[in-house]
Amino acid sequence: MPMGLRRDKPGTAGKGSGATDRRARERGGLAVPGDVLAIEVDGLIKRFGQLPAVDRISFGVRKGEFFGFLGPNGAGKTTTIRILTGVMEADGGSAFIMGHGAGSLKAKQVASVVPEMANAYTDLTGWNNLMFMAELYGVQTKQARERSVSLLQALALQDPKDNLVKTYSKGMKQRLILCMALISDPDVLFLDEPTSGLDVQSARLIKDLLRDLNKNGKTIFLTTHDMDEASDLCDRVAIINKGKMVAIDAPERLRMATSGRHSVEVSFNDSVSPESLASLAGVNTVQKVGDKYRLYTDNPGDLVVALVNHSSAARLKIVSLNILAPSLEDAFVAITEKEAGYA
């Protein structure tokens, strides 16, 4: 047991083990002795028929870490969360939550989830939903009431708490589901696209609360499509594609490691054909962004010079010019396209 955690019998996902060196590599540098892992996944496999939804993925999430889990639709993110939260059984590999086999009652007791497609009970009030969850986690009534009041206040739901959930907006429902997930004060919180399709105010409330929770030591496992969100919130992100883990690192390091995704954003005082910009030396791709053009390149310095020469020759005036480092979204697109064989 290299991570210094006592582990109980694996639950539904606790089958088999992988080679130590592979595990260390795939955990994204988490092989440091003494790292205490809140989530430990090794060689996890899940198939639907012949289709591998999750294909031998391995990673570890440290206690107190904010971990992002990114991937395109159908990559295996939700399946992974469902295995880790005990909703689904793995076909192979092992997974542990705070040292307890994923799917076991002990693992479920210390974790909580905000599922992507889940709903609260719409025929119950917000308050009754919270009390029901508290009962399922064995939270004492007094403590459940105190926590509920504080959570409802933090997520601006105190006023409609006695209304049936069927009268709530989508944002209110999602905030309530987060309250339900937090009523047991879990050590590990899983969130599957928690802000997807929400209004700005609800999304901001949720993100602020997640930051506070992480600051107070909660381990957070977040899947999202929103790269800005992942970049803002996460200590590390993993990218999964077609069931396989393709990258795992800090968002900043992933961004900087993406070659060919530096870009120069430029606008001129007159119209310019994108073909003429694409013909400049060193330009990989041209993208029109509003009234500007974004030119992707491996060498932004040389491209700036080329742009200045081009504008002089074409009697154009440069209105604005910015050199942009690759975003996490760029890194995500580059990695997933590379995996798909586009690049």
Binding site: V87, K108, Q109, S112, N119, Y121, L124, N128, F132, E135
Partner: protein, 251 residues
């Protein structure tokens, strides 16, 4: 955690699930239609215009009421929750699938017990006498549990449409009513009719009812109780084992 403490913990949580079911499902349309209105109209259509005395009517009405009501909640909860997208949240909580099933069975059981009081009250109002109230009460409790467990078996196929489950349940429930000595007492059935009747758990409860109200049971009470217990164990085991396989496929 010691095994007994774990069992108590899960039992308490299954009661929480039962309370949630009671709040949400008792007044749902399918429950009222299949659990209350159908048996009432079925019974009225059989009894109106016939010269039947209360002593022979009430055991049948009691059996039918208990059977329909106790099998009305447990079949629909799991597909309903899968459709309403509350099941995944429930499955991720620290409860076993057996705990979830027990909670649903308990809610159906309580519904059956409550509504079985109506035919008993009606019978007492029209002047029937119950020779062994304690035995009848025990039989109602056991049969309600047995029928609620049967209801959970109906929802094993992993469909998320409650109407489909109700259709499956109706295919079983209606024939069972006709072969269980509800309308014609067991001892008036031909030998082949009795042979069919013995495969229905409702037969044994109706027989206890007739014994306690009419004083004319066909089988010894010990046999009636023994078979009801056996059916209950069988339905519970089948429900728990198969829901464990099919429940994750609903997500």
């Amino acid at each position: 955690m010691p095994e007994t403490a774990l069992i108590w913990q899960q039992l308490r949580r299954s009661l929480a699930i039962a309370r949630k079911d009671i709040r949400i499902y008792y007044f749902k349309g399918p429950v009222v239609i299949f659990g209350v209105l159908f048996p009432v109209f079925l019974f009225l259509s059989y009894t109106i215009g016939r010269d039947l005395n209360a002593d022979s009517m009430i055991p049948g009405l009691l059996g039918m009421t208990l059977f329909f009501t106790a099998t009305s909640i447990s079949p629909i909860v799991v597909p309903w929750e899968a459709q309403a997208r509350t099941l995944e949240r429930l499955m991720s909580c620290p409860v076993t699938i057996e705990t979830i099933i027990m909670g649903d069975v308990a809610a159906s059981f309580a519904f059956g017990i409550s509504l079985s009081l109506v035919p008993i009250a009606l019978g007492l109002f029209v002047g029937i006498s119950i020779s062994s109230p304690l035995i009848l009460a025990l039989a109602i409790i056991l049969a309600a549990f047995c029928f609620a467990s049967l209801g959970s078996v109906f929802s094993i196929p992993p469909t998320n449409t409650p109407a489909t489950v109700n259709m499956i349940a109706s295919v079983v429930k209606f024939p069972v009513v006709f072969i269980s000595g509800i309308f014609i007492p067991l001892d008036e059935l031909p030998a082949w009719g009795q042979a069919i009747a013995y495969i229905s758990p409702l037969t044994y409860f109706t027989d206890i009812g007739r014994s306690c109200i009419q004083g004319r049971g066909h089988l010894p009470l010990a046999v009636d109780f023994g078979v009801l217990i056996a059916f209950t164990v069988l339905f519970l085991l089948v429900a728990m084992k198969l829901h464990r396989k099919t429940m994750p496929r609903r997500i």
